[in-house]
């Protein structure tokens, strides 16, 4: 075996934090190596050391895309690398594809790929745009990519943008590619395409390291997996000889209960009734088309579907962010169709939004301030028009403690938290409202396995206390295991309400594609409070091993 990368005893300290503690990582040439760990385990820091964005406090970095030469005792013959900047890493053949793409939106694909290394003509007076375009076309053909060099980044989808990032690295002669959470923003189909691309690249002799917190992806795409926990390397295993359970235990540091028992639901009266709601999206196209359902007290009502089939618009209509064209929305028997956000919140509607950074938090506020968002007008926080900051602070501390938000500092800016911790804080804040109805849109998106388990438990707990939960998620396993009844949306319509216990994955797949399979185990429709047949009354299990079934992420 020849190593392409060896990180030798890397320690990286930040003021007050040890992000990497004596981590050694060795990656074989021409393989895919997954770096697995929960949020904040130090994966990205380690890779930033490899990419020259951080200088390690201690330790040595060895890189050679053609394989590191070893001396007689198995030590590395080459001198360690010193990367002062990404430029040095690029020169050494390391390319990094960041989680948040480093692309310039108004520029074209070819302009982005060649940025910083533009081919020139006329003695440097102009960029040779034809040469740039050709280079891009050549590269994409060689690795089986399909990108239009003249498309503007702002006009192409995330899957294409990711390819552009990969091409950018290849254009700079990268032999070792580092991908930071590459599947986070992709649809399942795009994830498959990406894995094919990775296989193509390793066949061509490239070495790939990818960072992930999803077990299934590490298992299916990588040859070897290294697990990081709290900044330490807790083990490197070959994917051929390991299991999900082993990896999960390595990641979390304790045995993870992948299956939990959920007692049957005992639904009561409808808490949230949606009747004939029709809504348009931003482009004025009908996105929600005459949707009706009711969520009863003490039940989880799930909505499944491929992203972009009207779920977002439906949730916005329900929560009052978007005026529906037609239809009626009732909360605990009161018409709230025209009620404002504040009125709905007061009436007992809690909302975990789809986009935590856009809708859930004010990124430049600290956790204390974020914790009171949505309740700032009401007792006990507001008194005579001014906020009782002691109470607000206490409230935020409570949420942080209960939901294990890290760092446990109410004074920390929301933006300084990792995505998973931001999500935990939002979920905690919304649960603390003691809602009549919880509208949870992708509540575990981008959240690690330990926190996912926790959030799922809380959702079921809320249900058992007799509250209504509307759960929208593109993770099929999540909606199936948590919901008591499951609606499938396709092109803005609810095509079926099924019993999640009895329905098969195949049938769901067909429904999500707009077809109606035979023998569908339909669940009773409850509209306008006229009652319905309760279902899902058998004891069943809730699976938490769906962390890799995410369709999209932040």
């Amino acid at each position: 075996m020849t190593e392409a990368v060896r990180l030798d005893s890397i320690t990286k300290r930040f003021p007050g934090v040890v992000a990497n503690d004596d981590v050694t990582l060795s990656v074989e040439r021409g393989t895919v190596h997954a770096l697995l760990g929960e949020n904040g385990a130090g994966k990205t820091t380690l890779m930033n050391v490899l990419y020259g964005l951080y200088e390690p406090t201690e330790g040595a970095v060895y890189v050679d895309g053609d394989g590191l030469a070893t001396d007689a005792d198995g030590g590395i013959a080459a001198a360690p690398r010193r990367f002062d900047s990404p430029r040095d890493a690029i020169d050494a053949g390391v390319g990094m594809i960041h989680q948040h793409f480093m692309l310039v939106d108004p520029m074209t694909v070819a302009e982005n790929i060649t940025l910083g290394n533009e081919p020139r003509k006329w003695g440097g007076l102009a960029v040779d745009r034809d040469a740039a375009r050709e280079a891009v076309v050549d590269l994409s053909r060689r690795y089986g990519f399909d990108v239009d060099p003249d498309a503007r980044i702002a006009d192409v989808g995330v899957g294409v943008q990711q390819r552009v990032e990969i091409l950018k690295a290849l254009y700079r002669g990268a032999e070792v590619l580092v991908l930071d959470e590459p599947t986070a923003v992709l649809t399942p189909q795009e994830v498959e395409d990406l894995f094919e691309v990775l296989a193509e690249l390793t066949d061509a002799g490239k070495t790939i390291v990818f960072i992930t917190h999803k077990l299934g992806e590490a298992l299916s795409a990588a040859d070897e997996v290294t697990v990081l926990r709290d900044g330490r390397n807790v083990g490197t295993v070959e994917t051929a000889g390991t299991s999900r359970e082993e990896l999960a235990e390595l990641m979390v540091g304790r045995e993870v209960v992948l299956d939990t028992e959920t007692p049957p639901a005992t639904p009561g009266d409808p808490a949230l009734t949606v009747d004939g709601v029709t809504a348009r999206d931003d482009r004025d196209v009908v996105a929600v088309d005459d949707v009706s359902f009711a969520v009863r007290e003490g039940e989880v009502f799930g909505i499944a579907g491929v992203d972009g089939n009207g779920q977002s618009e439906l949730v916005e209509a329900i929560t009052g962010l978007h005026d529906p064209d037609a239809g009626r929305i009732e909360l605990a028997g009161t018409d709230v169709t025209d009620a404002s956000r504040r009125e709905r919140a007061r009436a007992g509607m809690a909302y975990v939004p789809e986009d935590r950074q856009e809708r859930g938090l004010v990124m430049s506020f600290d956790l204390t301030e974020n914790g009171v968002l949505g309740s700032q007008h009401d007792a006990p926080f507001s008194r005579g028009g001014r906020l009782d900051w002691d109470r607000v602070d206490e409230h935020a501390r409570g949420v942080i403690d209960e939901y294990d938000v890290r760092p446990p500092d109410p004074g920390a800016d929301a933006r300084s938290l990792s995505g998973g911790n931001q999500q935990k804080f939002i979920v905690g804040r919304e649960f603390a409202r003691d809602p009549v109805c919880m509208v949870a849109s992708h509540p575990t998106r981008g959240v690690d396995i330990g926190s996912t388990e926790f959030i799922h438990d809380r959702l079921v707990g809320l249900r058992d206390e007799g509250h209504a939960v509307l759960l929208v998620s593109s993770k099929l396993d999540e909606v199936r295991s948590l919901s008591d009844r499951l609606a499938v949306m396709y092109r803005g319509r609810v095509v079926a309400v099924v019993d999640p216990e009895a329905v098969t994955e195949e049938q769901l797949g067909l429904l999500m594609a707009g077809e109606t399979p035979a023998d569908l185990p339909r669940a009773g429709r409850v509209v306008g409070g006229d009652g319905g047949t309760p279902d899902a009354d058998a004891r069943r299990t809730t699976a938490v091993d769906d962390v890799d079934a995410e369709a999209t992420d932040d």
């Binding site: 990404p86 960041h98 310039v104 520029m107 074209t108 302009e111 440097g124 960029v127 503007r152 950018k168």
Partner: protein, 374 residues
């Protein structure tokens, strides 16, 4: 896709220009309608007559020079992510620097160079404060203006004994340059040709302007090319849109930003020196002879959506209205107090901005960038 996106890019660019033209037309229409409604047909005729006088175009071109150069400078700085609100200050110091340089060396051209040097030095200060010391760009820009506003008249007082400088030479006209070119053929034939062309009604003014006017047109073209066709221009744009992308591509963002801000100093310097050297004197009273042209430059490049050509067209619109306003004051056609007449260009700019100002700011404009920070 590719053809479509390219076409749209074209149309976008055209949209900007069309917007400016449309704005001007709309204003004119409103003004005309208003005048006609007031039953003042002969006044309208008089104003139109003035608008299409050769001297109006001539004045518009002259007034455009400092604004257009400052606007080009502003485009480079802001496209790179540094909002240079200190353009006014750069114009002031270079206006003085130009006159002082000419006074010392006796050559207008060396004087022009002196103006550029003065502006570049001040721009360097601005760049260091903003890029090195992470100062707020707006505050630093205002400081640059205030420094220049105090410094230039003070220097004039030290050198010339008065806030207004002594009179020095002016930049010769194109006709003069040709006549004194020292080449007999050029002097006679070229001179005759220019005389003939200058005789054309209205557009004749294009052939009898200061060389700085032609330099302005040249600079607009060169700026467009630099921004859109050179590697430097791409880096400037990337630095203003997503500096992290540029950094991870291995380009030093600070260097790009320094270069862009210094370039804005060079361009504004040419503009300021051209302003004072067209008069042959630096006037340092009150808001100085620059009198808000740097701020108007910011408006024109915003109106032109950071496109040098768009900025030039909106500059010409503004300068044209300014020229018209000057003539109106002189001729007393409108029965309106002069201070109100003087506001015509500013009011029009506000109206045009409100009606058609759909500007897309560079994503990272005004934000400090530090490599290695998350």
């Amino acid at each position: 896709m590719s053809a479509a996106s390219r076409l749209r890019e074209r149309v976008d660019g055209l949209g900007t220009r069309a917007t400016v033209a449309l704005g001007a037309a709309a204003l004119l229409a409103v003004a005309l309608a208003g005048a006609v409604a007031a039953g003042a047909g002969d006044v309208v005729a008089a104003v139109l007559g003035l608008l299409f006088q050769r001297s109006t175009l001539s004045a518009a071109l002259r007034l455009s020079v400092p604004i257009a150069f400052a606007a080009l400078g502003g485009i480079f700085a802001e496209k790179a992510g540094v909002i240079n609100i200190g353009l006014e200050g750069l114009l002031i110091v270079s206006a003085f620097g130009g006159v002082y340089g000419t006074h010392v060396t006796g050559s207008v051209w060396l004087g022009l160079l002196g103006g550029v040097v003065a502006a570049v030095l001040l721009a360097l200060l601005f760049a260091v404060v903003c890029i090195e010391f992470r100062a707020d760009q707006i505050i630093a820009g205002l400081a640059i203006w205030l420094i220049a506003l105090g410094l230039a008249p003070f220097a004039s007082k030290v050198v010339f004994g008065s806030k207004n400088s002594a009179t020095v030479g002016t930049v010769p006209g194109l006709r003069g340059l040709v006549a004194n070119s020292g080449l007999p053929f050029v002097a006679t034939v070229g001179g005759d040709a220019l005389d003939a062309l200058a005789g054309i009604p209205f557009f004749g003014a294009l052939f009898d302007a200061s060389p700085m006017v032609y330099l302005m047109f040249l600079a607009v073209g060169a700026s467009w090319w630099t921004l859109n066709r050179t590697a430097f221009g791409r880096r400037v744009r990337a630095s203003g849109e997503n500096p992290r992308a540029l950094d991870t591509a291995g380009v030093d963002v600070s260097r790009v930003r320094y270069a862009a801000v210094l370039l804005s100093g060079v361009l504004a310097g040419v503009g300021g020196a051209a302003l004072s050297l067209s008069l042959g004197q630096f006037i340092g009273n009150g808001p100085t002879m620059v009198n808000g042209k740097g701020f108007i430059a910011i408006v024109t490049y915003l109106l032109g959506n950071y496109n040098p050509v768009g900025a030039l067209l909106s500059t010409l619109l503004f300068a044209g209205l300014d020229a018209l306003q000057l003539t109106l004051q002189g001729q007393d056609v409108l029965a309106v107090p002069r201070p109100l007449v003087r506001t015509i260009p500013y009011v029009s700019v506000v109206v045009v901005l409100a009606l058609f100002g759909r500007t897309r700011l560079p994503e990272a404009a005004g934000e400090h960038y530090e490599s290695g920070e998350e």
